[in-house]
Symmetry: C2
Subunit: 238 residues, 2 copies
């Protein structure tokens, strides 16, 4: 691919772009299905849980606390109020485990960030529970590589427009890198920015979207390590 | 009181400084005690709930979602796993109601903010769930008065030092106004800033602290309306 020129800013998503995240949700969901196996088959449970998450998104936002509340709500619903309290206790413990899980960086995350940060100011743009995202960033050891950390409640075109502008960059000169078409790619293309999709093997149903194949400011990479050669600093920059 | 000179920035807390908040927690706590009345007396329930909130703070942080999870956990604990699922369902609904409650501004909140914002850049510094704090701010109609909105996971001396510096102000020229001695007053005095305490009739046990009576950069006001006469813009500013 021809290098992209005239960029002045590169922003990264965190969960499932720099470190594993979705796998902990999947593990917890399996535990959820196990705990409720007497009441409903796993597929049905997953569907009901996803419906609850979708319904609650406007109130709870993204993150583990809302997910835990949605699991509890679904357990009560599918059992028609018959779920034993000890199952709810286990669901709360499962949510707590998610908030404690150690950070595992994805392959090439550190090297890629270091290479990009040598030439560009680099931002982290992530959504989820404030405290949990801060904890993960601190544990990742990557904090020092970022010129700015933006923990946001949702990733809309306006979110990106505000962030890019606050850091003094035009969208046309900014790039977002992430695993979610819905959150990292489409809103950034929508405001005139560049977007790089690095798919992760696991992607939450609510993060899926259609790849804008052929879009001039869109790139899709097989892995993070392919990013640095794609970027040419703006003349006079870096 | 003599006006304070040389200030370049005034920051406000939100919950129970600009709008009511604690009263919704108290209402929900009464509902919680009512729902569990068959299992334990109200005082005991409140103590156990507070203990759970304190224990969970490091994982959940501040806000309604963590509070809801702590209520559920306490309900399971005090009933030794005998709490019926319909009670948990009611607790989830009570938490959801808190996330929907309409914003009620405190007396003189708007007038005070407008008067201060005419002379100083004004920040909002608040902690809690990101999405919920954003919703409350949007509903308050006060958003346009702030030069910056800072939703943080905790209010430590470092939090304030980072925020003041990012906005280009020295702590010695910055003032924080709020109802919590622990979160709004003490950490700001600790980094050399000014702090104004405007007590609210209801203050959560975990927000209490000792008033630093006689501290040269501390003021205590009976109401928000007393703030503007206390502030004299820096020479050349405003």
């Amino acid at each position: 691919m021809t290098p992209i020129r005239r960029l002045t800013l590169v922003a990264f998503d965190a969960d499932d772009t720099l470190w594993h995240n979705e796998r902990f949700f999947r593990l917890t969901q399996s535990r959820f299905a196990e705990l409720l196996a007497d009441f409903a088959p796993p597929d049905h449970l997953n569907d009901r849980l996803l419906a609850a998450e979708r319904r609650n998104l406007g109130r709870y936002g993204f993150g583990v606390k809302g997910f835990t509340l949605s699991m509890i709500e679904t357990a009560i619903e599918v059992t028609e109020d018959r779920v034993p309290a000890r199952v709810i206790r286990e669901l709360i413990a499962a949510g707590r485990d998610m908030l404690d899980h150690p950070i595992e960086l994805l392959p090439q995350a550190r090297e890629t960030l270091e290479a990009v940060a040598a030439d560009f100011p680099v931002l982290l743009v992530t959504k989820g529970d404030l405290l949990d995202q801060e904890r993960k960033l601190a544990q990742s050891g990557l904090g020092g590589l970022f010129a700015g950390i933006e923990i946001v409640s949702d990733k809309t075109p306006e979110t990106y427009a505000t962030i890019f502008s606050r850091h003094g960059h035009r969208p046309e000169a900014a790039m977002m890198v992430g695993n979610s078409l819905r959150s990292d790619v489409l809103p950034v293309l929508g405001i005139g920015g560049w977007a790089v999709h690095v798919p992760h093997e696991l992607t939450w149903a609510l993060e899926q979207g259609e790849a804008p194949a052929g879009h001039p400011r869109f790139r899709r990479l097989g892995s993070l390590g392919e990013l640095p050669p794609l970027l040419a600093p703006a003349p006079g920059g870096g």
